[in-house]
Amino acid sequence: MGAVAVFVLFFVISDTFRSADAITTVLYASSTIGIMAVGVSLLMIGGEFDLSAGVGVITSALAAGMFAFQFSTNVWVGVAFALAVSLTIGYINGLLVIKTKLPSFLITLSMFMMLQGLNLAVTRAVTGSVSTQSISNMDGFSSAQSVFATSFTLGPVSVRITVLWWIVFVALATWVLLRSRVGNWIYAAGGNADAARAVGVPVNYTKIGLFMTVGFMAWFVGMHQLFRFNTVQSGEGVGMELLYIAACVIGGCALMGGWGTAVGAAIGAFIFGMAKMGIVYAGWNADLFMFFIGATLLLATLLNLWVRLRTARR
């Protein structure tokens, strides 16, 4: 509903927004947030946060780029290395949250800061600058690019492949949530972890798995950035983690877990994409993007609260 409102708003205001090209651009902007939001929404439904998700994307991209360049391997080796790094980060996050029983907010905030520091320090130590060397002329680059960062034409327009992946991941996550045992466990782990444990749900494995899913998504988006731009800036990614969480909340995920959908998170991400591009197309000051996002988040939260109060009264 919110998505329709935002769409109509920009549709009316801006001519450019109405073109097919603009829509694919909006979809692309949504997809990079949306792919991450899939992982983050699953984790939130499972009752946890991951603040390290934003810089985790960059960590993964840096790991792949530098590994492949320094060891002169096929880039796919770097890609595999980055996957291992991302999954390990997710695993460590999950393990720490489970073992210490501390709020995941604190654990992943620590991870966020540590990764942010490591991204900068390791990149400078290895390459001597703030970004990785271009890997565009290395073995396997074009095949990796065709997986992570190509475009294809659909009728009159060119669509980036991340849009396709986004749809695939949302569909997959929705299937898992509604039609698999694990989906039941995710809702239960976030809704009432003690109850879930008491009836034999492996809550700890479920949560660690969710953190690793976020790691996987971070790897995927990281690879997209690497193969789209050939190099990676080590300081990027900061602040993105909150954008992912905001997209999930706008899409109806409960902050305390146990409630939400992957499709909702996708709609949240789509609103972001429309806002980001719509502001540009409408000729407004692009600096207003964050203001717009903040206002949307506030509105969505108030709307959720209102709906909840209404249903509770009934």
Binding site: R179, A195, G258
Partner: protein, 278 residues
């Protein structure tokens, strides 16, 4: 099911103790539950009731004594182990997930699936129908099996949890304060299910601090006090008055009464004068 003659206990604890570090939560507790028997465990807050059921249900491990299921000594490492032996617990907080639909709660942790991994999926329709049928059999009419559990009344939730445990092959049902948060009518509904569970041949361990509720359904009563057994008696040797009396403090209360009698009754006036004369 194993060959249980009416007298052989399903679950038997002998001299069981539990320490948390150097805090003694339970010591030398013995009790048993047989098929078609409701064994009540009563006690004040902090008497060790919760610790005891956590041992029986596999959440904690005992540190002394023996715990036998069907005569075999066991040491459970998780609630799953206990469930596999047919010991199911319905907790005070109900072990239900409030925001999840009734049928998903019913099958939580024991979902029916088909297909091979990674395409294995849940049999949603079948689970909906089964949950609906089971609840109807227990006499609960849920308007919509898809509605979240937090829309049910307290008594309905309690019975849902009990129905679930029975459906998944429980032989021993541990009920932790099933009537604590309920009104009289709702508590009645739950107590009726407890007695029908007994008629079905289940062993029921009923934890309560309400002697009236316990006496309505109980066959055997164990009262815990400060981690030890204060009283253990079958229904035939115990009246409700006695049980209530024990619950209210029992021997301690008698001592207090005795002390009070042996003292001169305090005269309020005299005390008043005394304090004035100072």
């Amino acid at each position: 099911m194993s060959d249980n003659s009416p007298s052989s206990p399903l679950v038997e604890l002998a001299g069981v103790g539990k320490n948390f570090g150097n805090i003694i939560a339970l010591s030398d507790v013995s009790f048993a539950v047989r098929p078609a028997e409701v064994s009540c465990i009563l006690g004040d807050n902090g008497a060790g009731k919760s610790t005891l059921i956590k041992i029986v249900s596999g959440l904690h491990q005992h540190t002394a004594g023996s715990y036998r299921v069907d005569g075999e000594p066991v040491k459970f490492t998780s609630p799953r182990d206990a469930l596999d032996r047919g010991i199911a617990t319905v907790y005070q907080d109900l072990a239900l997930v409030p925001l999840m639909p009734v049928w998903r709660n019913f099958f939580l942790g024991s979902e029916l699936t088909r297909g091979v991994w990674p395409f294995r999926q849940i049999r949603a329709e079948e689970m909906r129908d089964t949950a609906d049928a089971e609840l109807k059999a227990m006499g609960i009419e849920v308007p919509d099996i898809n509605q979240p559990v937090n829309t049910l009344s307290g008594g309905q939730r309690q019975v849902l949890a009990i129905a679930r445990a029975i459906h998944f092959g429980a032989r021993v049902l541990i009920l932790d304060e099933p009537t604590a948060a309920l009104g009289v009518k709702q508590a009645g509904v739950v107590l009726k299910y407890i007695s029908s569970a007994r008629e079905a041949g289940l062993g029921v361990i009923l934890i309560s601090h309400n002697p009236h509720h316990a006496y309505m359904v109980g066959d055997h009563f164990t009262i815990l006090k400060q981690g030890t057994v204060d009283l253990s008696a079958p229904r035939s040797e115990l009246g409700l008055d006695e049980l209530t009396h024990y619950m209210a403090g029992g021997a301690e209360l008698e001592t207090l009464q005795h002390e009070l009698r042996s003292m001169d009754p305090p005269d309020v006036g005299a005390v008043h004068e005394l304090s004035e004369s100072r």
